[in-house]
Amino acid sequence: MLPQVLHRAYLRCPKMPQVSWDVLSSLTVMVVHYSFLYMIFAMPLTLSYRTTKVINFVHSNFITYGAYVAILLNGLYGNRNMLLAMASAFAIVGGIAVLNNIAVFEPLSRRGAKPVALMISSMGLWIFYKYLLYTIIDLATHFSRVNFVSYPKIVYEWIPSVSLDSVRLSSSFIATSLSAAAMIVGLYVLLEKTNLGRAMRAVSDNPILSEISGIPKRTVINLTWLIAGGIAGVGGVLWTSYAGAITPEAGDSMILQVFTVGFIGGLTSLTRTCIGAVLIASIENYGITLLNQFFRVETSYKPFLTFVTLITTLIVSPPLGAGGGLPYRLFRRVGKSA
């Protein structure tokens, strides 16, 4: 295979750190895996922001709730069918997202609240849902005597793992890549080929004009929330097949990566969000391995690389269209016209 030949050539180079083929190939599989996961986590964020204009901090709860729907089904009823878990997670988390919109975001925007107020209310909801989940988990643990606070990885049935010429693709990888592909194709068909998708794009481009043209804006926004919440919930289910242990902090611990991916996409472009997912997954995993090899940097510093990417994105190519923002200079140039 070509990659192996290239790797052998690399190993002949003098003075380079020796990375074995096994390490490199498993690292690359991990990068691809994370890219797909970040796509599934971050694309609904972009989708919900561009249609509803709410910076949704509850998004991290969506992921956690999705994971816990799968965990509770597994722990209480012994469910190992991934499709069933995904369908339940889609329905429950999507329902929560619609409920949020009907109860909080819609009344606030109808009153003409600023985007900042919407964001702060989503922060309030974030705190509420986080501790609601802790309460539910405590109750479930108390009554079922199963430890739900730190739950091991779920092994789902029916999904095979594949070995390709010394590279092993786990069943979680297969499930994640299939889901990501299905999501991308589904979103493409939905947004480009159906009336609902056209209406969603119209609402995101110009809400007032779309309403004048007779598009039922409320229904479109509710459906957007259902889809966005549902996909994030499905992402949570996939996470249960990959992570070593799932805790109620699962979504929160990924919020930096997920939002950075969304910000790279400017919270408007789904294509750029996909690119952002690949970028963040590569920078994080390759970057920390290199730093670890060369400078003995601890792997727990991984989020720093993401944060540097975030800051660089904000300085070099700030997402001006999203959530306000003006092109400034910090220091005034005295005596020169701008």
Partner: protein
Amino acid sequence: MPEFDLIGFLVQWLTVFGLYSILAITLNLEAGFAGLTNFGKVVFYGIGAYVGATLTTYLTLYLNNVDPFECPPYSIDGIVKLIELGGKSPSLSIGLLALSLLAAFIAAGSVGFLLTYPILRVGPAFVGFTLLSFGELMRIFLRHYEPVGGSKGLAAIPRPFGWVGDPRLSSFIFLLLVLGLVALTYIAMNKLTNSPMGRMLRAVRDDEIAALCLGKHVPGIKALTLFIGSGFSGMAGALMAYYFTSVNPDMFVPAVTFNVWAMVILGGMGNFTGSIIGVALFTLMDRLLAFITPALGVAVISPDYIRWMFVGLLIVVVLLFMPKGLLAERPLKTPALDEARKLLVEGGGGA
């Protein structure tokens, strides 16, 4: 049942109330007046606390002829030495206190100033998120940085008034210091927001483009606001380190920020008195919960979770049904407004 110690309760409650008041007042300046959605309040609080703690412990050892690099303050020997040496000399304690407060102000303020650069050109959402994640990174860094104690943090920070002798008297003097700083913050922020700068801040909050078109230096004003707000939060952090006599990375979780936000939103954005009322209500609730929780015994659902669910719901409910909070924003106090009021009271008619 132990006897209820009213004075002890009041001193404890008011000290925590004072620390949170400084955070809430400065957050109100940033979020309520300047429209900077600072979701990383805890960053500046934490920087202040760590700067204060590090300076005090290292210098206490050094000035008492113990080499802090051979016997670092986070080691067992260092802690023993600190307990032995700390808080003996009034001049040293007061000097270290003043130095820590100053250094905390400068360090936290500078970080705030520098952090405005990447967030200048993006909307409030990105500002909030960037500051929030910076806080989490700071926590990861502190956990792994050995000179400030790693995940265990620094302990046995000498109390600034330990030389007084009577612990009750020393904590009372400390309370006076905290309340003094609250008063200073309150007066400074009131003066600031009732000045031309206050009008500029509101202009930036309400319409950045308009403010920019009127020739206001919007980036500068944002950076200055974050410098002042963060500086005062840093001082609160340093005092907090003295109050608890220890710091560790897990004290500075995002929950602290959300607590302060809930207080400010409940009290009313753009009204400092409202913030203080919000802080009083919240800290009182926490103190009472701390009394009630042990009485409940072992419960299936932790009261802590219920408390946090209540905080989250409160933010949403206040925003939905009482968007101005308990006390609404007032117009600026200017000489012109006073004149106009006087004319109205006197029945007008002109000069």
